[in-house]
């Protein structure tokens, strides 16, 4: 009971922090550019953490995350742009946006189910190819759908997304996915990553859990798509190419496959780096790439591996650093003595 209370308190405190930041933005204490970048960061956190559920936690390899973001973005955009389509006209403004985001997520989840059911029987690289193909199919369908503007995109959306909305979504995503991983259902997913045959033999219906992880991740990808659409106030098929999937994948790989905190850190860092390197103009892409190569060379498992960044981990690393330092000091002393 006390545990749950403290969890709720923690959640409320974090939300209050997000709200305070939003108020500072509204008051002009944080300028609009920073506000925009922070909002984008929060959206990428949702994308990266949800992709980590498939690629890191469940050990599958999806390259179609941009496709699910597209499904969510377009579904939500259609709902908010047409006041009496799909949802009755009594829902307006931000309420309509929230419902549209949920429906966007649910549509993405449903599509994730349809794609996942047959393809998650495949393993490893095959799944990557199927999901990659799926992402492209979605994009090409949207490209040829006149109702949403085809190639030129679907625009004139109201700017519903602010920092707090994106922040709230990211906190909800992180909380739900973390809670899921700590549950027996989440452990079932992790066991698939560790050893699929052993998992099956321990009574875990592996295909079912792969689909569940895929559907949950698709849901959050869809909501992230809706957030992005209502931030840029438009959606185009060109926003959801395979490159976006790769960027999300990079965040997951960089942070560490299986590490939620790693994904959060990497999403924030890479978005920040892209902005910080803006000053280098045309060369920033090269610097960005070099940075990634270096990290991949020296931390091939990602910055955090499968571990989570926590107080305990920090304490342990500090301890090991200290023992190393002490050992070195002792060596120096013995060397000096000799």
């Amino acid at each position: 009971m006390a545990k749950r209370f403290s969890a709720l308190l923690q959640f409320a405190l974090v939300l209050a922090l997000g709200y305070a930041i939003q108020m500072a933005m509204d008051a002009g204490m944080i300028n609009r550019y920073y506000a925009h970048v922070m909002t984008v960061m929060a959206i990428f956190v949702v994308g990266a953490v949800s992709l980590n559920l498939i690629n890191g936690i469940c050990g599958q390899f999806s390259l179609g995350h941009a496709g699910f973001m597209a499904v969510g973005a377009y579904t939500a955009a259609i709902i908010t742009k047409n006041p009496d389509l799909i949802l009755p006209a009594i829902f307006t403004g931000n309420v309509r946006f929230i419902l549209a985001t949920l429906l966007g997520g649910m549509t993405a989840a449903f599509v994730g189910f349809l794609v996942g059911l047959p393809s998650l029987r495949l393993r490893g690289d095959y799944l990557a190819i199927v999901t990659l193909g799926f992402g492209e199919i979605i994009r090409i369908l949207l490209l040829n759908w006149d109702f949403v503007g085809g190639a030129s995109g679907y625009f004139g959306l109201v700017r519903h997304t602010n920092f707090f909305a994106a922040f709230l979504l990211s906190i909800i995503t992180i909380t739900i996915i973390r809670n899921f991983i700590q549950s027996s259902h989440g452990r079932a997913c992790v066991s698939i990553r560790e050893d699929e045959i052993a998992a099956e033999t321990m009574g875990v219906p592996t295909t079912r859990y792969k689909v569940i992880a895929f559907v949950i991740a698709s849901f959050f990808a869809g909501t992230a798509g809706s957030m992005m659409a209502h931030l840029t106030q438009m959606v185009t098929p060109a926003s959801f190419t395979f490159i976006l999937s790769i960027e999300l994948l990079l965040m997951v790989v960089l942070g560490g496959l299986g590490s939620i905190t790693g994904s959060i850190g990497a999403a924030i860092f890479l978005t920040y780096a892209a902005e910080a390197l803006r000053a280098f103009r045309a060369y920033r892409m090269i610097l960005y790439s070099l940075l990634l190569i270096l990290i991949m060379l020296f931390r091939p498992k990602g910055l955090l591996g499968t571990q989570e960044l926590s107080y305990g981990l920090l304490k342990e690393s500090f301890k090991s650093l200290r023992t190393r330092w002490q050992r070195k000091k002792n060596d120096d002393i013995t060397a000096a003595a000799e």
């Binding site: 899921f180 700590q182 452990r187 052993a198 033999t201 321990m202 009574g203």
Partner: protein, 261 residues
């Protein structure tokens, strides 16, 4: 009542018949050995019994209910849920996970709470998780692993990894336990301890056990009955004494020349 009964179980990989007309029958509470030279098809037989492979022909009945027939084949996880658990010849632990989590995963089939409590960590989630944790620790105590519950499985010494695998299999609450060379790579002392442990859990959990083993002394020492497999066929079966004297078995194990010598 037979706990496990197979009739004419056969599997072919392309043109190769790996196991042919495999007929065994286990009575409740028995400890039966399955021996044979390398490549005889012992592990393949295990894989059919646990649903990893689908037999080309034949049927498997577990407690008089079919697990596998011409019309229907259960998935491995369904078979586990019916009450057959196994270990693997080349240890297949969840290496990156803690010892405790390895066992907890095996309790997954008993979990009643759905996804929503998992997302929200409701009271139901906490109640069941506490129960699972208590059960898992209790089980680890029996195997002397409770002090290492937070250790990653891959960091355990070899013998303890083998023990953990048995513990994990037991957590699925099986009626029948299939052990695939549990003593492989162990020294005689460790093997001895393992055999005592197997005897103990067999009584404690009222298990029926089917054991694949290379170590002849061990098999002869603990098993009540033995099946001998060679080139995918059962060439003999009987008590350890009978098997020891069976010329076919001696031939299979020691080669023809020695028999005639």
């Amino acid at each position: 009542m037979a706990v496990l009964e197979t009739i004419n179980l056969t599997i072919r990989f392309g043109g190769l018949t790996a196991v042919s007309k495999f007929n065994i029958s286990l009575e409740e509470g028995e400890l039966v050995g399955l021996i044979g030279p390398n490549g005889a098809g012992k592990t393949t037989a295990f894989n059919m019994l646990t649903g990893v492979y689908q037999p080309s022909e034949g049927t498997i009945a577990f407690c008089d209910a079919p697990l596998c027939s011409a019309t229907k084949a259960l998935q491995p996880y369904q078979i586990t849920r019916r009450g057959i658990a196994r270990t693997f010849q080349n240890i297949r632990l969840f290496k990156e996970l803690s010892v405790l989590d390895n066992v907890k995963i095996a309790y997954h089939q008993n979990v009643k709470y759905g996804l929503l409590p998992a997302f929200l960590h409701t009271g139901r989630y906490h109640a069941e998780e506490v129960e699972i944790e208590e059960k898992a620790i209790e089980l680890l105590k029996i195997f002397g692993l409770d002090t290492k519950k937070s250790e990653r499985a891959k960091n355990l010494p070899y013998g303890e990894q083998r023990r953990l695998e048995v513990a994990r299999a037991l957590a699925t609450n099986p009626k029948l336990l299939l052990l695939d060379e549990p003593a492989a790579g162990m020294n005689p002392q460790e093997t001895q301890q393992l055999m005592e442990l197997i005897n103990f859990i067999r009584k404690q959990f009222s298990l029926t056990i089917l054991l694949i083993e290379h170590d002849m002394a061990l098999v002869m020492g603990v098993c009540e009955r033995i099946y001998v497999l060679d080139y995918g066929k059962i060439i003999a079966h009987g008590t350890p004494t009978e098997i020891r004297r069976n010329p076919k078995v001696i031939e299979a194990y020691l080669g023809e020349e020695l028999v005639h010598a």
